[in-house]
Amino acid sequence: MFKLGRKWAERLEFGAFTLPVLISIIAVFYYPFMLTIRYSLTKWNGISKNPQFVGLDNFKQIFSGDANFLNASWFTIKYAILYIVLVNVLAILLALVLDMKMKSTTWLRAAFFIPYILSLVIVGFIWKFIFMQGFESLGASTGWGIFKLSWLGEPNLAFISVLLVSIWQSVGFYLVIYIAGLQSVPEDMKEAAKVDGAGPVRRFFSITLPLLAPSITISVFMALTNSIKVFDVILSLTGGGPGGTTYSVAYDIYRDTFQNNLYGYGTAKALILFVAVLIITVIQLTIFKRREVEA
């Protein structure tokens, strides 16, 4: 009797500790996720009480050629690849510099981090102002042609603008991760390589970079998940323009669901996005984890 009592007391305590978090997570992720699956099989404008069940029609329609979704996917893929590569390369280069002992190191690290504490929507607006008004003045005072281009009005340039602004906002975050990674590279290893006659470039590629692998894994993972979901900065910077060339998948889903009131159809796209994110991140993590080496 006593034993049974203790076992139940333990279970009760386990429940008391874990149920609150379980309920919260199920409420905001798992239950809505089930609803998402259900909505994706319906045609629903959000106003009528009962969504109309249409089976896999939404998916058929999307895969048989939804121009918006296709363009948005293409934009997102291009954006994600360039963003991941550029932000990581820049962050590693900056981290190498800011890992050196300089008087202003602390200040410099803080300076590059500051944009990251700003909301992306606001960052988008600030840059919209710079591109539209600021560049005019800068062009007038410097005479440089680069400031006279229409950075938000021409499709290719608008793409570059979105990319540049996202990188500007977040490079400081990745920089911090890489600085932490660099600090865990043992000094004696670099010294030994120096004694063996390896130059700075050789030392970087043969020693520092392989030992930086865990930081690269996590940074690429974060850059990947964030770039696939890109939304806020586009909303405020280009609004999807010019001519709908800068719609991302996340923005397209938002537009279908909340602006065009195609609740079922938008949700079906959202489900496709989830599957894509899942597959890509699992592949990325597996490949990168395999390449990591121990210091």
Binding site: F14, I25, L35, F113, I126, I130, Q133, K229, I253
Partner: protein, 276 residues
């Protein structure tokens, strides 16, 4: 040797100039928030001839800044307190219990990190409406518990594994058990990781856009600073001086917090990201 040192100084100066260029957009934002409309239109890069603080009083009144600030604070505090509380106790219990159930629950808790918000946003909105959580700062704060828990659990779980079990045992012998053991003995030991989570989540919840847009955008009494700045700029597309003022006022709290917590922030990001 001397030339090497001189080279370093030149290099350092170069880096400082680069960082100033990097922050130049923010500088332009601030100086243009202090200009009159005609000054903004004639020359963006010139310094203001006289400081137009009336931009600030105008925006302050127009968007009801104190109210928005309060809303942001309520949402962030409720969200954060809940995340810390429910994640720390659960992560502790799960890390201490070795069983299949425990592993399964942990997996269920961290798995959502892979679900993009856009995939569930409509359903979350519907659910919030059904539970009467929409159009309320409290309701939004409570929703953040679930959204913030997976990462917090992940970081806490990893950290608790490094806290020796002997501490639990000796506390039990001294008569503490259950919640009192956790809050009096374990929780204080988690201080550094709690700081990390506080910083990451405050930056996230304070600046979040899409969830507040869907949840509390309906009324001025529930809006957040970012939402107000967004609508404000939408209405004042050509009055850039007001738009820039609204931007500065929306980001100022984050910048002030950043200056105070700078050291911890950088450490926190490292702990959260590298371990996370």
């Amino acid at each position: 040797m001397k030339s090497k040192k001189a080279g370093r100084i030149v290099f350092e100066i170069f880096m400082i100039i680069l960082s100033l260029l990097f922050l130049y957009p923010l500088f332009l934002t601030i100086i243009n928030s202090l200009k009159s409309f005609s000054e903004v239109m004639t020359d963006v890069i010139a310094l203001p001839k006289s400081l137009a603080f009336e931009n600030y009083s105008y925006v302050w009144k127009y968007i009801n800044y104190p109210r928005l600030f309060l809303n942001n604070t309520v949402i962030t505090v409720i969200g954060l307190a809940g995340i810390i509380l429910i994640s720390s106790i659960a992560a502790y219990k799960l890390a201490r219990t070795k069983s299949k159930t425990s592993n399964l629950i942990y997996f269920i808790c961290i798995m959502p990190m892979l679900i993009p918000f856009q995939s569930i946003m409509l359903s979350v909105l519907q659910m919030a409406k059904n539970l009467n959580l929409s159009d309320s700062t409290w309701g939004l704060g409570i929703l953040y518990w679930g959204f913030g828990a997976p990462l917090a659990m992940f970081i806490y779980h990893g950290f608790v594994k490094g806290v020796p079990r002997e501490i639990d045992e000796s506390a039990t012998i001294d008569g503490a058990s259950g919640f009192s053991l956790f809050f009096r003995v374990i929780f204080p030991l988690l201080k550094s990781v709690t700081t990390t989570i506080v910083i990451i989540d405050v930056m996230w919840i304070w600046n979040d856009f899409l969830l507040p847009l869907l949840m509390v955008n309906g009324s001025p009494s529930t809006k957040t600073l970012t939402l107000a700045a967004y609508t404000f700029v939408g209405q004042y597309t050509s009055d850039w001086q007001y738009a820039m003022t609204a931007m500065v006022m929306a980001v100022l709290p984050s910048i002030i917090v950043f200056m105070f917590l700078q050291k911890h922030i950088v450490k926190g990001v490292v702990a959260g990201a590298v371990k996370g």
